[in-house]
Amino acid sequence: MSHWFMLTLVGKDQQGIVAQVTTALYEGKCNLGEASMLRLGGNFTMMLMVNCTLSIEALEQLLQPVITKLQLHLHLTPIEGQLHHHIEPEVRISVHGADRAGIVAQVTSVLAEAGLNILDLESDVGGSAKEPFYIMHIEGIATLGIKVLEDALQQLLTTQQPDLKVQLEPIEILVM
């Protein structure tokens, strides 16, 4: 019987990580599901759904040679693999401002309380080391409606974070 694992992998960015990891998986007769792979602060990160008949130990062994060779950190978690059930986002929120402690916590707390269910969050630090700025894009479901989110963000801007720039746009999906 086959089952799903979430493969989480971190390592110093170098050429060919994806090719070597996925080739090892392919040769071990594993199938791949959804994946997110990103370079974050000079590290290469991978989150990859893997489906196979191997035990978790056997899967780890299969990957060991490439993990050792490329000096990667690997973690495997048994998961329930849900394919073909995408949830579509209803709203997209962008935030940017001078980087200081607590932006993400404040913004996401306000949004969570206003009913946002986050499907995708991507953030980055730009600018210079002396004057960094923080930029974040969030997509999600407005479980209490978009108006509630708008009001909550407005409240945040007027009371706590006047310098933050926050933009919200409903995502209209046209099916045709």
Partner: protein, 166 residues
């Protein structure tokens, strides 16, 4: 009338190029009626092109009238449609009855001019903006054997124009 079977990607027939319609007869009008029923049976679909049901002729139906407060022409039958002018661009999220369980961002012209015939062969000219223009561009792609997944831009790429607070 009948709800027709929708071809879904990766069915290679979706790459077929649709031929121009030459006979504006009862057969055409039956296809149109079936297409419309199929479109309305799809979840919130605002357009359909004949190749999506395996009929490789230049027949399109659009109807964005369910979207409130936008400039639009209501239900339109577009036979042998030809876009004659493109202006501006906009990123928007598209889905397709032929591409289940996937949506993506696509850049389309914001405004278009279009020449098309109706179900009786009469020629009309249209100017369209925004959602309606997007739907027509998506459907005309179907006639050319193209899907929106051939034109994706990154979901993570920030090209959206948003409402700005404060």
């Amino acid at each position: 009338m009948a709800i027709l079977n929708i071809l879904t990607y990766p069915d290679v027939r979706l790459k077929n190029i649709a031929a121009p319609v030459t006979e504006f007869d009862d057969r055409l009008r039956i296809i149109i009626a079936d297409l419309e029923e199929t479109m309305r049976a799809g979840h919130g679909s605002v357009g359909i092109a004949a190749p999506q049901v395996g009929i490789f002729e230049q027949i399109v139906i659009i109807d964005v009238s369910a979207k409130p407060k936008i400039k639009q022409h209501g239900r339109l039958v577009l036979i042998n449609p030809e876009i004659t002018k493109w202006e501006g661009f906009k990123v928007g999220r598209e889905g397709c009855m032929s591409v289940p369980d996937y949506t993506g961002n696509v850049i389309r012209a914001h405004s278009i001019q279009l020449v098309a015939q109706d179900e009786y062969g009469e020629q009309h000219e249209y100017e369209m903006d925004d959602y309606e223009a997007r739907v027509v561009q998506h459907e005309v792609d179907h006639l050319d054997g193209m899907l929106f997944i051939d034109r994706l831009v990154s979901r993570r790429h920030d090209l959206f124009k948003r409402k700005v607070y404060k």
